[in-house]
Symmetry: C5
Subunit: 91 residues, 5 copies
Amino acid sequence: MIICKVIGHVWATKKEPRLEGLKLMVVQEEGTEKQTHVAADVVGAGIGEQVLVVSGSTARSIFRERMDGQVPTDMAIVGIIDSLEIDPTAK
Amino acid sequence: MIICKVIGHVWATKKEPRLEGLKLMVVQEEGTEKQTHVAADVVGAGIGEQVLVVSGSTARSIFRERMDGQVPTDMAIVGIIDSLEIDPTAK
Amino acid sequence: MIICKVIGHVWATKKEPRLEGLKLMVVQEEGTEKQTHVAADVVGAGIGEQVLVVSGSTARSIFRERMDGQVPTDMAIVGIIDSLEIDPTAK
Amino acid sequence: MIICKVIGHVWATKKEPRLEGLKLMVVQEEGTEKQTHVAADVVGAGIGEQVLVVSGSTARSIFRERMDGQVPTDMAIVGIIDSLEIDPTAK
Amino acid sequence: MIICKVIGHVWATKKEPRLEGLKLMVVQEEGTEKQTHVAADVVGAGIGEQVLVVSGSTARSIFRERMDGQVPTDMAIVGIIDSLEIDPTAK
């Protein structure tokens, strides 16, 4: 998983039918990379929150279990981070 | 998913038979990376449009459902972006 | 697999139900990249330890075998490194 | 898919038995990255040609259909590019 | 596949039980990146040798066929390179 911050929303009227109803959010990777991705949200994340994001077939597996069907996303927000405890001496 | 802009077309006469009939478009990642990829289009995207692109087995899963068969692509355009709302204070 | 150092913990109350009970640790890639990830721990790794981390569907496969179910993680700590022997002449 | 140029061949006598008989070619990514990979060729590509390359489980799926078995490659050349039409105003 | 050089060994006593008995080697990517990974060896590679390395579910598929079970690795050495023939005019 990667740690991201939710920074926005994306709207697409013309899309793969099975993406219908998904909340698609723009997330930005924390750390040195700062890359931007679009992830489907399943935990009710809001703008500005720090979240856990999974990629690839793992993102798809969430919807397979929840909706008993294929949802063509390769990224999903799976948790809202309450706290992050980094040991400075371990780095 | 990544946010890309459609910048061109690619033609290949000699190819894997199961790629036959696919519309293959050249897309460029938005943001700092600007990498170029080739993605199969299923939503009717045009040159210059901002699109949502999925990768890996997720791209393949789209065609499995649609055509009941294996299509050997690892990238697909799944949505045309109408609007992108980024919160400047969240970044 | 990548070689990482465990540098912290992450807590998320609001999360995908099937992540419940997993120990999620912050790991930092060794080497030039130094990227930070979050991985589910199955071997009892502690802060400061050097570990082996797997990604993608491989991480998920571990939980499929262990818990007979889908766990939506795309990264897992699968070993604690005792020693790493690099041949300086081979580099 | 990524756009690569075929730049060489690779020979390996000692290898996974199921790689036997595959034509393994060295390909170089076009664009800014210029990374080098080894891909199994299924379309008869030659040195200097621009090709379409798929990665991951998609590469493996090609051989599953063709040879009814597992071929342990994670990269395959699936098309020879005839022409690439990039719109300069779209970039 | 990527071209790597075998540069070392890694030992881990505390590990996922299904990694037991695997020979885990430290490999370094050739080319500009020089990233270090840990790969399971199935071809008897030695320190200093140039090898072909597969990633992701492809690495896991090798062990599924060989040992009829899941081995949680996402990287495997599948060939020892005898020779690499790069056409300088093609680059």
